[in-house]
Symmetry: C2
Subunit: 222 residues, 2 copies
């Protein structure tokens, strides 16, 4: 019989399986990875896996769902009480990148296996993704009434930002590249003010001295 209501032990073992599965999917891709790979790496027999999980698709679904739920919940918590649009954007970027660097395997699976799910699984994940995206659009558009944002297509701007952030799974090496703090500061700054040195950057928060120079974290060594 398949697992019906999970005991403490049981759901703990499911988590182990999902953790190893995420690693395997990240290494070989969803299609390139086999259930046997997951069985070997998690030390659960091939048939034993099916006590915890209905199918290979469900494994991917469970990984994506829980990862996305966590990152969304963290974002909502971090945003609570913050009103300034620029600051909210910085929080979004930091939350996204910090989670990315803490859980690189799960996030790679999220970013790279976007098309692999089908049917109801796909739709359920898409729903969370829409919500996450919607928050980003709201934040972006709130930059405008303040008379700050250029006349830019929100969709293009926000998806470009996600592109910057999600692409890091292809290049970021923890030893070599900046960590979450510096990286999110750099990307927020690039997104908000660009790479060029027009006059002076806007200060992080409205300060007496509007011409404050950039923070240390943003000035990454070349």
């Amino acid at each position: 019989m398949p697992r019906a209501v999970e005991s403490e032990q049981s759901s703990q073992k499911l988590e182990i399986i999902l953790r190893h599965a995420a690693q395997v999917f990240a290494d070989k891709g969803y299609e390139g990875a086999s259930i046997r790979d997951i069985s070997r790496s998690s030390r659960v027999s091939l048939s034993g896996l099916y006590y915890y999980v209905k199918s290979k698709q469900e494994i991917l679904y469970l990984i994506q769902l829980s990862t996305f739920r966590t990152i969304l919940a963290r974002l909502q918590a971090a945003l609570r009480g913050v009103r300034d649009p620029s600051e909210r954007l910085r929080i979004l970027v930091h939350n996204h990148l910090a989670y990315f660097l803490e859980h690189p395997t799960e996030m790679k699976v999220l970013a790279h296996e976007d098309d692999a799910l089908e049917g109801a699984y796909r739709q359920e994940v898409a729903e969370i993704k829409r919500k996450y995206y919607g928050i980003a659009v709201e934040i972006f558009e709130a930059l405008q009434p303040a008379g700050q944002a250029r006349g830019l297509n929100s969709r293009v701007a926000v998806l470009s930002l996600f592109g910057m952030m999600n692409w890091i799974h292809t290049w970021h090496r923890p030893q070599r590249d900046p960590q979450a703090e510096a990286l999110s500061e750099a990307m927020s700054r690039m997104f908000l003010h660009g790479v060029m040195n027009e006059r002076s950057p806007v200060a992080r928060r409205p300060l007496p001295n509007t011409r404050a120079r950039e923070t240390r974290a943003a000035r990454i060594a070349v």
Copy 2:
């Protein structure tokens, strides 16, 4: 016997095969696609494919190699004679995005199947990629002596730019989203000057009137 020196006809048929293969890889991913899928869609028998091609890996290799070579050659041609760093960056972005939107299937295969190649195939493609990346870094760093670029990690800045651009394969819908001109103008502008409205944008070229407003193409409807 496998094809040795290709005749006119023969290499033409190889191109047909590669075009269909790119479509199949783009739809199902490299691992998810089968040689039989490619056989079916290109109307060449399963064994017939192996007259033109040594292996499934070689198919992917040939697609990636020729796509990358073309985009690199076009970039070098478009850059010839242009000295202004900002303008060179705009050319790079436009070249990349224009090719992306003209050949979405090949570019999706390039962006998405980055890890799929192995051994010598992988290295040969990596070499071109390094060259392409190197040009981008050069352009970016040339923004600095002019006293224009912020103290930003080149690697982070350039790879963020590639992230913006390459990510479009996940979201761009030709009917709905801006075309190459408007899109590259928007992304160049975002990268160079950001999304916020600090004072005034810098003019495209050094003009008498440094405070010229943005061009029409950049003001995309929301």
